[in-house]
Chain length 337, copies 4
């Protein structure tokens, strides 16, 4: 950390800050510039709380030098993490496509979707049993019945299943049915939930909050990692901006940024990232071209009847066409689907 003293800080203020830094177990290294004196705080392995210093008399501001995440960073682990789940590997050479309906609505709907996405080349089946909805009057998912249907679909089509968990209490239940636990965008900073999935024996698909920075996403991953679960998959799913034409703005920059900062696999969600089915294909191709390790895509056999997110779901035939496009783009960037 760097401490910038005010222009008119007195030498007494300076020495008080230095003393405080040293009391806290750090070394202080002074540098007298023409307009400001700055103090380099030399660490002892533990981060120093910036706010303790910023409130001291004579201090203008502080600047962090190190990134706040550790376990998630490439400093800690340079080589890529590859998450293995039921024979599917995420984060390797092969791109993984997770697909299926936004919400599990019925046995027929789920199985029709599952067979279709499997046939088109998806490796993981997605489907929501417990749905976060902005309105209490909207369909909230089938709950445990949805989990039974997911388990049945997994059995029938032979694909691992990813589903969202919102309530820490339900982690053990959902973990008995699902192969991958999804932490949704609205739950990215639900620390009780991060704690709970950090102790689960299942890989976690962690979605970036719609107004969370890349660093905050990595700090949320850090919560899970620090509770012992090393199998975390990050997901860029669009951020909230001033643009209202699309539901969210898929942050394509975040994909290479994350790949540079962390060893964890990074997938993209072009369905939520755009909110409009006709934009899903170009956004999916872009994510692959930018280096994503996979995609998660909403597919519904009859989107116009979907109980949730119909506007952004692909029909099975469009999804199959998209998979063909993605194979070409993946190959162009030296990957495979």
């Amino acid at each position: 950390m760097i401490i910038v003293m005010k222009r008119d800080a007195s030498s007494r203020e300076l020495s008080t800050v230095v003393t405080r830094v040293e009391e806290l177990g750090y070394r202080a290294h002074l540098s007298h510039g023409e307009e400001r004196t700055i103090i380099g705080v030399i660490g002892n392995g533990r981060p120093l709380n910036r706010e303790h210093i910023e409130r001291m008399s004579g201090v203008e501001r502080t600047l962090p030098i190190l990134r706040p995440f550790k376990l998630a960073g490439r400093d800690f682990q340079p080589q890529d993490t590859v998450v293995e789940v039921n024979g599917v590997t995420i984060g390797g050479q092969q791109l993984i496509v997770m697909a299926g309906p936004c919400a599990v609505e019925s046995r027929e709907q789920l199985l029709e979707a599952a067979h279709a996405v499997k046939k088109a080349g998806a490796s993981v089946l997605r489907g929501g049993a417990f749905k976060p909805r902005t309105s209490p009057y909207d369909f909230q998912g089938l709950g445990e019945e949805g989990l039974h249907l997911l388990a049945e679909a997994r059995q029938e089509v032979g694909m691992p299943v990813v589903t969202e968990v919102m309530d820490p209490q339900l982690v053990p239940l959902i973990a008995t049915y699902a192969d991958i636990l999804q932490v949704g965008a609205r739950s990215m900073q639900n620390y009780a939930l991060l704690h709970a999935v950090g102790e689960a024996q299942r890989p976690v698909l962690l979605k970036r909050g719609m107004m969370s920075t890349v660093e905050e996403l990595l700090m949320a991953a850090e919560y899970i990692l620090s509770h012992g679960n090393k199998r975390v998959i990050l997901c860029e799913r669009g951020i909230r901006t001033f643009e209202t034409y699309t539901r969210n703005t898929l942050d394509i920059n975040a994909i290479p940024v994350l790949k540079g900062l962390t060893h964890l696999p990074v997938v993209a969600d072009p369905s939520h990232g755009t909110g409009k089915w006709e934009l899903v294909a170009p956004a999916a191709r872009a994510a692959v071209a930018a280096g994503a390790d996979g995609l998660i895509i909403e597919v519904h056999p009859h989107p116009e009847q979907a109980l949730s997110d119909g506007a952004q779901s692909l029909k099975p035939e469009r999804f199959a066409a998209l998979m063909d496009e993605l194979r070409l783009v993946a190959e162009a960037v030296g990957r495979k689907i």
Copy 2:
């Protein structure tokens, strides 16, 4: 809801949409303009899922006419809700100031803060026992021990206590100690939590998410109201914008907007809304001038030693001076503190 048909929609597409609207139990009212045909959907009391229609052939887009919240809106209840808690009324003529440390750190710290804010004129004591922190390595609060200390402080100074709840499982425990349950900004769309506090017998202080629109805040309140708890207090606490000089941007517009849309009391949090102690006073005065029903302010006897949010906490003497300023501003807008 209004359905806008595409410019080149066929009459067959139009009639299919009309049939669908009628099948769903609504009436369709056509209006043929020069460039577009639009369909007015006349309600049956239940909202129509826009996405069912937007995916239909020939449809360009849909426009909602009604706001999605009901119980929270002034259409439903024109007169102001006044929340009463242990003799303190929030939402009436009197402005209420809630104050205290960000986190409960020790018996001494809490009691010192409690006596100071009480003396300066605060009506409710704030203090966090379970803290949401972006880093798993930061102080996470004293937990249940903090609740004991809050109960002791309430007893000693005679003020109701507000504290944050993050985990739905802990609602019953926290409700036995706290007079007001706070749902923090990061939990505003934690639906399991909204459900749990909706069934609690305690008023709820619901903070706006830093990424949430005014409408989403009201929909979160709607969750609580629809589960039977009518005592909801809304809190504007700053939103995330591109400006980085302040930690958040206190959305002063939101105060009169909310007062117009809802009957619920609206308070403001200038501490989180700015993130810098030297901005707390001007932001607090502004919130009162804009019509807030109260404030929640962080006060710490020794901010430079605070384990959390020291940079935005006021010292007791500054808080007392601010209370004097606020009395004058409140009077200028016809209110009292």
Copy 3:
């Protein structure tokens, strides 16, 4: 336009609004819903000023039905505009890469860059002579001397040249040297400048403002088109969001959105869109995969000595490698470079 009346609007207020709509030369079409009466305003070809109506008694709000742009829209011209400049066509099957230094710094620097980008496959040379800089103390460009150098480079390498114009007075001068006039992001709503380039006999590269919506970009294009210049090329160059890790957030969604709404060519600027050279390649590949008609990329022979934007400039050898990657991605989406 749709007018939504307040729930408690009187019949007198309703009839006053209807009369006003008719006085203004439109027809009013009423639809009485359960909770609101709405009025469809049927056009006469001219847009109705929403604000005239929104201030009337009994009116809750208005909703526009038609997009505000005309000449830029696909309703007006369904087929793609292809801009031809000195034998280079932009907006067709072939993808166009514009490349060169951010600022023209010297004859040597410009020629070295020009030869390098030409050799690697770029079709248009970029280079700034008049530079918009946030600080008055930064290098402001070589001015007219820079234009001479650009003309010389064009002659020597045989590529058309694009350069920025900021001052409407300088449009005639710059148009004598440049083949394409660039309107920068900060000038997107400089209406005097849009007017001036709208009357120039040169194609215009119009960059999206960093906080401008897609619709505002199209309205800026509308200004140019409405002054008679049909050769407008749109450029997505990153928007400002809360994320600070990258300088801007390249809005990849905007590319397919624009291609759907307008017939004008759309290119992307991954250099400004990311602000970091190491992100330029993934963002460029993503833009091509998302359907961009071209790219504009900063290349500098010695980025560490650049007087402007060195952090986001590619070295010639990296640019050449990127061109090879882009050829593969372009082919994967059925285009050519």
Copy 4:
């Protein structure tokens, strides 16, 4: 400036960076931490281009220590600047209210508004002759005819006049009619215009761009100051955020932030800052309570007939009532109107 070296930077890379810093005329001061080596760059009065260093091998990133503005900052001039124009002083104890119609539409409209705002206590008359409009099909202002009317109104009511200038070429013309030159939000980074008003003999009202940080606003002021014009008044007028209920989000925090960083007067525009007339009064009161030196407010005798911004204009009687409210709030914070 601080240079942070990469964790694995070699000693050769380190010495190359140090040599470069010294070649550029600065001194380098090394500090070896546990995880990173950092270099403090000790200045020679001129700022060092960060990008020159960031592209060097072994460098992770750089951190600026000093704010980039000088003439605008309190380091340069601690005491408040008070702008005097025709007997009106802006930036002193007295709060100044500028009011009038968005656009000058006719002699009658302008004079009616001018008399009304004068009577209610405004000190400066506002009115647009040249209007920036997002659509080329909207009313663009009366142009020079509008300037004549403003001059007539000034004569008749005896108030200085503020009007917007968009085109650098028109600065001399407008300066012959107007007492204060307004640079609008969309022009805040129009450097040709900043240069032109910097050389004019008139005070400048500089509005913050809706996409601009506080620091960028100060850098725009720096342009004007560095061209010799010391009479700059800053204006917070709302920023663009994700919230769509209001047209903009008035950044109330920016008022005390600016007052801390700069000696220039700061006024607020609650009309554009909210976009809705019913929010103007609470936002205006809030701005005064937060420490603004004045306000600029749109007043129109017949807002429902306004050719521009009718939705946010106050009627004269509401403006007069607001002035009464503002007098009370001003007094509460120790100021006068």
